[in-house]
Amino acid sequence: MSSLLMAGLLFTPLAWAVLCLLLAFRAARLASVIGMLLQMALSLALWAWVAEQGGFFYHLGGWAPPLGIGLRVDGLAVTFVLLTALVGAACGLHAGLYLDPSRPWQRYFWPLFWMLWAGLNAVWLAGDLFNLYVGLELITLAAVGLVVLGGAAPALEAALRYLFAALIGSLAYLLGVALLYAEFGSLSLVGVGEGAGSASPAASFALLIMLFGLAVKAALFPGHTWLPPAHGIARAPVSALLSGLVVKAAFYVAARVWLELGPALEAAVVGVLLGVAGSAAVCWGSWQALRQPQLKLVVAWSSVAQIGYLFLLFPLSHGVPEAVSLQAQQGVTLQVISHALAKSAMFLAAGNLILSVRSKRVEALAGVSRYLPLSLFSFGLAGVSLMGMPPSGGFAAKWLLLQASLASGQWWWAAVLLVGGLLAAAYVFRIYRASFQEVEESDPFYHPPRSLEIIPLVLALLALGLGLVAEPVLSVLGLPFGGEVLSP
C-alpha cells in the first residue's frame, strides 16, 4: 500500500508537468485542477498512513542504500509534503484565475509549476545527499523559469541574479558532498551520519561549505540580495510559491544535514555564526520592509526577515540537552509551516490588492479597508501570524523558540525573537495604516472575482488556526528530523 502511495506521489507531478506542457493554458488549467486534487489526496493519504504506522525508508528501484537511493519518509517529511500540497494547490488555483490567459507565454506556467512541485517533493523525501543536489537544482531552475515568465527586462535581471546566486550555492553544496563522499564512501544521509563519529576535520569543513551554499540558496542575510527583486517582480502566485516553499527547501536540507552531522563534528562555531546571521537577517529584513515603497517588495523583505528566525535552529540544537533541541526543532517546524501558509496568503492577497488598486505602491492602498474588506482581511490575518501574535501558528512557534532559547541559556535569541516580532508588527501595521486611510470619493477600485479573494483567506485562516492545533501537528511529527524509522 505505502509503495503505491509513494509511486503515485512521485509520478503525478512529473506526469502532469509533461501533460500540461502539451496543452494550452485553459486546458492545462483544467488538467492541473484534477492533478492538484489527486496530489492532495495522495499527500493526505500518505500523511495519514505515516501518522498511524510511523515513518519508513523507501528504496527507489528496489536497490538499498548505499548502492541505490533511499527516500526517508518520516513524520516531518510527510508533513512538509502535505504543506506543499496545500500551498501548491492554493497557488495553482489562484494562478489559474489570476494570470491572463491571452499572453502566449502563460501556458508555460503550468509545466514549470508541476516541475517545481515535483522538485519540492523530491527534496522533502530525499535521504541521499546527491539526490538532494539534483532536487535543489530542479527547484532552482523551475523557480527561475517561473520568475522570468514573460521575459520583461526587470524580470530577466532578477532571474539572472537569482540564478547565479542559486548556482553558486548548489556548487558549494556539491563540493561539500564530494568531500563527504571522499571521506565516508557513502552518499546516503543516514550512512554518513553513522560514520560521522570518527570524522576528520575535513568533514567539518565540508559541513561548513554545504551550510554556506544552502544559506545562500535560502537567502540568509549576507546572501539575501537576490530574493527581494525576484519575489517582488514575479507574479503574485509565483512569489507566494517561492517565498512560501522554495526558500524553505534549502533550509530543510541544511537542517537535515546539520542534525545528522552537526552534533558529531564539533561545529558549534558554525551554529552560532548562522544564528548571528539569522538575527541580522531579522533586523535588516524588517528595517528594509519598513522603507519599501512597493507593497510586494515589503512582503518580499519580510520573507528575508522571517527566514532569519529559521536559522536560529542551528545554535539552539547544538551542544544543548536533547529536550531543548527537540523543543527548538518543533518550534522551527511550526515556524516553517505557519510562515509558508501566512506568507503565501499574504502574497496572494497582495496580488489581489495590486490587481484592484491598479498600482504597486503602498500609499495607493488608501480606502481599501472600506471597499475591499475581504482582501485586506486575509492580508491582515496573515500579518497576525507573521507578527507571531496569538492564536496564530507564528505565536506557537515563537513561544517554543523562546522556551528553547531560555532553557538552553542562550537568552539573546529570545531578545531577537521579541524584537523581531515588534519589527514585524511595525511593517504590517504600516500597511494597515495605509489601508485605513479614509478616501473621499466613491469606490475607485476594480473588484476582482470573489473566488480570487477566498483562496488567501483560507490560507490565512489555516495559518491562524495552526496555533490552536499545534500539539496534534507536532505529535504526528513524532521525533522530527529522523529517529528510528522502520523500513518497509
Binding site: F130, Y133, V134, E137, T140, L141, V144, G145, V148, G151, A152, A153, L156, E157, A159, L160, R161, L163, F164, L167, I168, L171, L174, L175, V177, A178, L179, Y181, A182, G185, L187, T225, P228, P229, G232, Q288, R291, Q292, L297, W301
Partner: protein, 102 residues
C-alpha cells in the same frame, strides 16, 4: 603521489579560481564561465579523491555525468537569459548601482 592527486590539486585550485571569478567579475558571460570553472573543479575533486584512495570508482563517474548534464542545463538557461537581457537592455552586466533594495 598518484596521478589522481594531480587532478585533485588542479580541482582545488580550479574551485578557488572559479569562486573568485563568480564573485568578483561583473560581466555576465565571464561570470558564467567562472561558474563552469567552479563546476569542473568540483567534478575533478569528486572523481579525484576516491580515485586517489582506492582506484577508479564508477559511482563517481555516474555522479559526474549527472552533474555535467545539470551544469549544461543551467548554463544553457543562463545563456538564453543573458542574450535576451542583452537584447532588451543592451547591458552585459547586472546594474550594481546603489539600489535601495541592495
Amino acid at each position: 603521489m598518484t596521478s589522481a592527486l594531480l587532478y585533485v590539486l588542479a580541482g582545488a585550485l580550479l574551485c578557488g579560481g572559479g569562486l573568485a571569478g563568480c564573485l568578483l567579475v561583473r560581466h555576465l558571460l565571464r561570470r558564467l564561465l567562472a561558474f563552469n570553472l567552479l563546476g569542473s573543479g568540483v567534478f575533478l575533486l569528486l572523481v579525484g579523491l576516491p580515485a586517489h584512495r582506492h582506484g577508479s570508482d564508477p559511482v563517481t563517474h555516474a555522479l559526474v555525468l549527472t552533474g555535467i548534464v545539470v551544469a549544461v542545463a543551467a548554463t544553457a538557461l543562463a545563456l538564453v537569459l543573458i542574450r535576451r537581457y542583452f537584447h532588451l537592455t543592451g547591458r552585459v552586466s547586472l546594474p550594481t548601482g546603489r539600489q535601495e533594495d541592495r
